[in-house]
Each structure stands twice: as C-alpha cells, then as structure tokens.
C-alpha cells in the first residue's frame, strides 16, 4: 500500500459519487466521504514520511504526458480539502435535500464531486497545460455550485460576476503558463531557481492567483458569490477554493525565481486586505456577506506571512522568515477550519430562520444551543483569541514580524507597519465577531422569523462539531501539527529544511491547555456560587421604560457605527432616510448599507466607459450594404498604398 494506492481509491470514490449523484444519494454520500478519507490518508502519509509521490504513466492528453506529483505542499492543502470537504459533504446531505430542492440537489451533488476531483487534480498536476485545463474546469464547476439556486436574481448576478472575474484570472494564468512554457520549452513544472529571466512572470501569477484568493482589491466577486451560494458551498468556497489561489502563490514562489519587489508587494497587499477586509465586514448586515469579507481579511493575514517569508528567503534571513511562513501555512489550515465552521453555522441559522439579515435575528441560543455554541467557538477562533487555533498562527506571524523588527534589517520598517496593522485587524475582527454573536444569538428575537426556530439535525451538527474539535486541537496541541507545517515549508525553501521546533510552541500549547481548563473550572465554580446564593429572574433594566419591545435592542449597524465611521472614506455607506416632519410625524425611516466600493465605484464606472466607447464603434455596423462596400474599398486602397510604399511586402 502506497499513497498512490490511496489516491486511486480516492479517485474511485469521487467518480462513483458522480455516477450515484442522481439516483442514489446514500451511495453518493458514503462513496464521497470514503474517497475523501482515502485522499486524507495519502496526504498524511506524505506529510509524515516526507516522501514525494510521483506518477508519470505513458498517457498523453493534449500532446502532453500526464504527470502527477504529491509533495508536502500539495499534501498540506489536500488535508484541508479532505477535512473541510467531508464535513461539507455530510452537512449538505441534510442541508440541501432532494425534498426541499428537487431540481438542484442531484445536480448539486454531481458538481460537488466534480469540484473535488478538480481541486484534488490541481494539487497533484505537475504539467502546466493540464493545470490550466483543470483550473478552468474547477472554475466552471464552482460556478454551477454557486448558482444552484438560480431562480433568484441575486444568485444569477453573483454567479455571473464570479464567472467574469474568474476568467480574468484564467486569462492571466493562461499567459503565465504559456510564457513559462515558451521560455522553458516544456509544459513540465518543477523547481527552476536558476532561470532568473522567469522572474517577471510572477506578476501574472500574482494577479491570476490573487483574484482567486480574493485579495484586496481583486476581491470584488467574493462577497456576493459566497453570500448567495448555498451554505455548504460557501464553506467550501471560503475554506478551500480560495486557498487554491494561495496554493498557486506558494507553489510557484517556491519553484520559480521572483522579482525583488515580490515579497514587499505581497506583504503590502496582505496588510491592506487584512485591514480593509475586516472594515468592510463591519459594515455588513448580511450574515454570510460579513463572513465573506472576513475571508478577505484572513487571506491578508496569510499573505503578510508569505510576503515576509519571501523577503527573508530573498535576503537570506532564515530565522524569522521560517516563523512567518509557518504562521502563514498554519493560518491556511486554521482559516479553512473556522471559516467553514462559521459558514456551516450561518447555514444552520439560515435553514432555521430563512433570513441572513442580522437585524431580524436575535436570541437564537435558546432554540439552537449547539449552533450558537459552535458558532461562538468559531468566532473566538477567527478573532485570533487564545486558547484556540487562530491565535497560534497569528502568534507565529507576529513572532516572525517582531524578530524581523529586532534584526534591524531592510525589512524592519515594513515589519513594524505590518505588526501594527495586524494588531488593528485583530481588534477589529474582535469587534466584528462580538457583534455577530451578540446580535444573532444573544438577546431576544427581533422578528417572528427568529422566534419559532429549531435546532439542526445531527448530520448538520456533526460536521460543525468535527471542525470545532479541529480548531480546539490545533489551539491546545499545536506541537502535534508542527511536522506538517515544517514539511511543507521545507519544500518551499529547501534551505530551511532542518528546521527545529520553535521552542515556545510547546509552552504555548501547555499554557493554552491550562487556560482552557481554568476557564471551564472558573465558569462552573461561578455558576455553582450563583446557584448556592439563590437566583431570581427579572426583566432587563431598561431605565424604567414601560413598554419595551425586542426591536429596541441595539442593532448590528449601531454596534459597528463608531468604527464604520472611521472607515467611511472607503466604505462609502449609502443612506436612505425619511426624516420625521410636521407636528405629528406619521412616517420616518432610516436605512444604511455598505456596498462593494471597489466594484461599484471603480470597476463598474470603468466598465461603463468601455461600453460607451464600444457602442460608439458599433455605429460602423448598421446593415447598409453600400457602406460596407465602401469600407472594403477603403481597406483595399489602404492595403494598396501600404504595398506601394513598400511597408508590406
């Protein structure tokens, strides 16, 4: 038994799943999960043994021989794909059933497996042409998953935007791989550090993969696509597919030489994405849209780490570069885990209440204690608070930045700025997630839709539990996961291969464990004391007001108001208000929403200008044959003149 054996088992599982998707949902479920499980075993095998699995059969597609390779970087991302993928698969079997969605559920299952097959192949392929083909298939299969519910207008619009943006990315990647193949003379991919003339190609890869990863300002497609897709699809989109952009960047910055400015650019884009991503998230009232903007933030944190690793790798500073890279890689896992958990939680809220609008929710913890508890755990993790996994990876990135500062080298000033921005991001994320938990799960129901709700069933609960357990495990025992991170970073920069465990990680894990135990102990002890002293219930203090209603509770918009005010220059919130008039005002209303500034204020106006120019050119096309003959004559005459003056031979 070898990794290859498990990978073929995985392929069989995925293909059987596609075949069973339309007729046998139970077989689909077990085949898919078995397939993902087999892939998981193969990935762990590679990460533990440190081997590279290669397979190059005598089999040609498009004139190129098939070449699969599973090394530690691929395996690292494959682990995330399989864990989040199996959680999402189980979740979808209750969330998107044939009963509720007779038209889209079977097709959804098929596209789901096609997407997984493609994602797995992207991680395995070591041939540029095949990579491009599969990348395009991956783009299309996720389009069909996003638009599963396509009788809604917003979903179609989101899908269209996704398709357009993704194809800009595909075009950039097409140029990238084509130039690469043209200069090297082969589509084969692999380490090529000695070819310094390939360095400028990095910019094409940055735009192509950056669009997919959703880094600011290339994230325009991400919020609407993630918000409008079914929640199990959102979990995969946010947890896994945007990480394919990160995979591309990690893979090709590891294999190809990069220009001098590359690391600085990546770190700067990362810092901008982190702060602005969370600022936009604070302005959102739609639960899933808010979570989508947090993906932009977390991709930013990952890129800060990767950027500093690139700077260190270029300047030969292994010590802090390694920490930054380890933080970035671990954050890939962590973000995948807690963001999938949060999207699944949001899905279960949506399933129960039928709305994503936070101002209509509230008090859900009573009816949905599991969802509330697990979502809150994910919130603590994503806010980067100890003792969970988000803190571990952010801490590694911070350590890298602080070491870069104290080394007083060229990167120090950038590290100072990044560390401060990272701290601001952390505090903003905390504000955002206390808002979400407080408004959605605590307090009293703000509308009828939040009143008569039910907890989700075990097939939706178990995936959330698994993801939450993974978050907890990485937080409490980070040492166990270090070998995987070390193996992947050794492939990225072989010079850093002999990386000893950064000593404090074990201590941090022990401190986390002690803290977690003390948290539980203190909470139980305080509750015992409260019960011992006697307990009575009364209404919330409302300043003596006689007729309070649940709608008088603080809203998401007001909660974030102070901070969104600071960021109004970029958020550009839109207000619609009817002020109370007359002595006896009858009607007044106030509404504020934050739209996607980059899309509406930059991309759409630019698109409008292009359309205007194009439509003025279109006047040439009017259907009058005489004029067309005139064009022909003018063209021929121009050609004749060119030949006459010997410009063209």
């Amino acid at each position: 038994m070898t990794p290859g054996w498990f990978l073929s088992l995985a392929a069989i599982g995925i293909v059987v799943g596609i075949a069973a998707a339309f007729t046998a949902p139970r077989l689909w479920l077990s085949a898919t999960i078995l397939g993902l499980g087999a892939a998981f075993v193969a990935a762990i095998w590679i990460l533990v043994s440190g081997d590279v699995w290669e397979w190059q059969p005598d089999f040609y597609i498009g004139g190129e021989s098939l070449h699969l390779r599973l090394d530690a970087i691929s395996a690292f991302f494959l682990v995330l794909l399989t864990v989040v993928g199996s959680a999402g698969t189980l979740y979808s079997s209750e969330y998107w059933t044939d009963k509720d969605h007779p038209a889209s559920a079977p097709a959804g299952r098929a596209w789901w497996n096609i997407l997984f097959g493609n994602l797995g192949l992207i991680l395995l392929l070591a041939n540029g042409l095949h990579f491009l083909i599969v990348w395009e298939l991956f783009t299309i299969s996720s389009y069909f998953l996003i638009t599963l519910h396509r009788d809604r207008r917003a979903v179609r619009a989101a899908g269209w935007l996704y398709l357009a943006a993704s194809h800009v990315a595909v075009l950039c990647l097409f140029a990238f791989f084509a130039c690469l193949a043209a200069r090297t003379g082969s589509w084969e991919l692999g380490p090529m550090h000695d070819r310094s003339e390939l360095a400028p190609l990095f910019w094409l890869a940055l735009v192509g993969f950056g669009l997919k990863a959703g880094l600011f300002p290339l994230h325009i497609w991400l919020p609407s696509a993630h918000a409008n897709a079914p929640s199990h699809v959102s979990a995969i989109l946010s947890g896994v597919t945007i990480k394919m952009g990160i995979y591309g960047l990690v893979r090709f910055t590891g294999w190809l030489p990069v220009p001098d400015a590359a690391g600085w650019t990546v770190a700067a884009l990362g810092a901008i994405s982190a702060v602005l991503g969370v600022a936009f998230a604070l302005g959102q009232h739609d639960l899933k849209r808010l979570l989508a903007y947090h993906s932009v933030e977390n991709i930013g944190i990952i890129l800060i780490g990767l950027g500093f690793a690139m700077i260190a790798s270029a300047n030969g500073n292994p010590a802090w570069g390694q920490l930054a890279l380890a933080g970035a890689l671990l954050h890939v896992w962590n973000h995948g885990l807690f963001k999938a958990l949060l999207f699944l939680g949001a899905g279960s809220v949506l399933h129960a209440t039928g709305t994503r609008e936070m101002s209509r929710l509230g008090g859900l913890w009573r009816a949905m204690p599991w969802t509330a508890g697990l979502f809150s755990l994910g919130a603590v993790a994503i806010a980067g608070l100890p003792p969970l996994n988000g803190f571990v990876s952010e801490w590694l990135v911070y350590l890298g930045l602080f070491d870069a500062v104290s080394s007083q080298g060229a990167a120090s000033f950038a590290a100072i700025a990044s560390a401060i921005l990272l701290a601001i991001t952390g505090a903003l994320a905390l504000a955002c997630f206390i808002k979400v938990c407080g408004i959605v799960f605590l307090g009293l129901p703000r509308s009828e839709s939040a009143e008569n709700v039910h907890e989700c069933g075990w097939r939706m609960r178990l995936p959330m539990l698994i993801l939450a357990a993974a978050c907890l495990a990485i937080g409490l025992a980070p040492v166990l996961f270090w070998p995987a991170v070390a193996a992947a970073s050794a492939v990225w920069q072989p010079a850093w291969a002999a990386s000893p465990l950064p000593a404090p990680l074990a201590t941090l894990g022990a401190v986390h464990l002690a803290l977690a135990a003390l948290f539980i102990l203190a909470a139980v002890a305080l509750w015992q004391r409260v019960k011992h002293n006697g307990l009575s219930r009364a209404g919330t203090w409302d300043c003596g007001y006689a007729a309070p209603t649940a709608r008088m509770q603080y809203t998401a918009g007001s909660f974030a108001g102070i901070i969104t005010g600071w960021f109004a220059w970029i958020l550009r919130p839109k207000r619609h208000e009817t002020l109370p008039k007359d002595d006896f005002p009858t009607h007044a209303s106030f509404e504020e929403h934050t739209s996607e500034t980059v899309l509406e204020d930059i991309v759409e106006p630019a698109g409008a200008i292009v359309m205007r120019i194009s439509s003025s050119v279109r006047r040439l096309q009017h259907g009058r044959v005489q004029a067309y003959i005139l064009y022909l004559l003018i063209g021929l005459a121009a050609l004749a003149i060119l030949v006459a003056i010997k410009v063209v031979k």
């Binding site: 603590v380 206390i434 401190v511 203190a522 409260v530 002293n533 009575s536 600071w566």
Partner: protein, 302 residues
C-alpha cells in the same frame, strides 16, 4: 509541584493587592474635593458583600452571562502571571509571551462585551460597542509600545523586554501608555466611573444587569486590569531588572502608588471628554508610542 505553589503564591499577591488601587484613587479624589471619602479598603468590603448576595438574572440571558465574567477574570489573572517583577522574572515566561499578554486582555474584552450583549439591553449594547471600538486604537498603541521595547532589547519576552528602562523614549512611552491605561480602565477623561447616566457610560453600561458574585468577579477583574496596566507602565519606565529584588519590589510599589495617585488627580482635575473626542485623544497616545518607537530606533542604531 513547587513551581505550581510558587505561581499560586504570586497569583494570590496580585489578586489580594488589586482592589487596593480603586480605593486609593477614590481617597485621592476625596482629598482633592475636601471630603473624607470612603475607606481605602471599601472595594474589599463591597466584593465580600457581593460574593454573599443572591443573584437577579435577566430573563433574556444565556449561560454566557455568568460564564463570560469568569473567563474574563481568568484571562486577566493569566495576563498578570506573564508580567515580571524585577529580577525575579515572571511566573511564566517564554518567547512571544508579550503577544499572549495582549491577546489575553482582548479575550477578557470579548467575554465582558459578550456578557453585556446577552441582556439585549440597548444601553449595554452601546457600552460594548464603545469598549470594543476604542480598544482598536488602544491595542495599536500597546503593540507599538511592545515594538519599542522589542527594538530596545531585541527580545519578544516580557521578562527581558521590561527589565531595562525604555531609555531615551521612556517619557514618550510613559505618556502614551498612561493614556491607554486611562482608556482601557474606563477612567476620566475617557469614561467616568462615577456617572449614573446610562447613555454616557462605557464600562459601567456593560455591567448594568450583573449582580451578586458575577458582578464581584467583574469588579475584581477591573481592579486587576488597572493593576496590570500600572505595573506595565512602571516597568517600561524604570530599570527594575538591574535592581536587587527587594529594591525592585519597593520601587514597583512606590511607582504603582504614584501612578494611582496621578490617576486620582487626573480624575479630580479633568472633566470627561465628549465621545467624539475620545478617539482623538487615544490616537495621541498611539502617536506618542510611535514617536517612542522612532526614538528607540534611532538610539539603537549602531
């Protein structure tokens, strides 16, 4: 086992001394106003009484209302264990513990704000919103202060970062951190701990619905946080690491007392700011820390 006992003893000293600080501040305020004022030990009496009292819980609250204060208190006590005392070092010290320190404070903020939102009260929502919003700038200031110390000492562990004095930039850093201390502990001019108008409070607004033991835990946690920030401020300025242990402890006590008295004087002599001015003042604190960082940078360049 002995290590555990040692940590426990140090923790007890922190926990026992913390409620003294608000008492001293109140005494200073009373003196300046020409009153006799409550006894310095008043908070100890209050806490003892609250711990015995029965609890009134809002009908809206979840278990987070009681669990939140408990977790926040443990987080603050944990942060206290990371702070060194002169040459004795910290009870718990490792590379990167300075970041854990900041994030433990953040965790306590998350828990208290969560417990506040739990009641569904608009007042407590306002308090929580203000707390988490102002903390954004405060956290930027604290991390800048840590970066200054990191540049100065080349270390990321509080034990060695706080041992020497912050050098030339010490005055700037002290001023910046003092602003953060006032803001994070809800003192005048950022917030008024004595106010009785729900609309204008920050910290007090968040705990309107707490009573009995959970309130005692919150009040004790707040006192602990004040002590934490006073010690942090003192240790950045004074070179406690170079003194003998007894001298260091003596200097630490004297300096924390001085900080507390200054807080009391500020509270007596200044009015609180309008809310829209709070971010400006906090940004000033952040800039002071940033200037301290630049001074440290220039100073440490060979």
């Amino acid at each position: 086992m002995i290590t555990a006992l040692y940590i426990l003893c140090r923790l007890m000293v922190w926990l026992l001394l913390a409620p003294l600080l608000p008492g001293i501040i109140n005494k200073v305020k009373a003196w300046v106003a020409g009153r006799r004022g409550p006894p310095v030990l008043q908070l100890y009496f209050d806490l003892a009484k609250l711990w015995q009292k029965s609890v009134v819980l809002s009908t809206a609250v979840s278990p987070a209302h009681v669990a939140g204060p408990a977790v926040a208190w443990v987080a603050l006590a944990g942060a206290a264990m990371l702070l060194p005392v002169g040459s004795a070092g910290a009870a718990l010290s490792f590379r990167g513990d300075s970041l854990l320190f900041i994030y433990l404070l953040a965790l306590s903020r998350f828990c208290i704000a969560g417990a506040a939102l739990d009641t569904g009260s608009a007042f407590e929502g306002m308090g929580a919103a203000r707390e988490v919003s102002y903390a954004v700038i405060a956290e930027a200031a604290v991390i800048t202060a840590l970066l200054t110390l990191c540049v100065q000492t080349g270390s990321v562990s509080l034990g060695s970062m706080l041992a020497p004095s912050a050098g030339a930039g010490a005055a700037l850093l002290a001023a910046g951190l003092f602003g953060v201390l006032l803001a994070e502990n809800s003192r005048v001019p950022f917030d008024d701990p004595n106010t009785h108008l729900e609309l204008t409070m920050v910290h007090e607004a968040m705990i309107l619905d707490h009573s009995g033991p959970p309130l005692a835990v919150i009040l004790h946690g707040a006192a602990l946080k004040l002590l934490l920030f006073s010690v942090l401020l003192t240790e950045t300025v004074l070179p406690l690491g170079s003194l003998s242990l007894l001298q260091a402890i003596g200097a630490l006590f004297a300096a924390v007392l001085a900080v507390t008295v200054v807080v009391g004087l500020v509270e007596s002599l200044l009015a609180r700011l309008a809310f829209r001015r709070v971010p400006l003042l906090l940004t000033t604190s952040f800039l002071l820390c940033l200037f301290a960082l630049l001074v440290a940078w220039k100073g440490s360049k060979p």
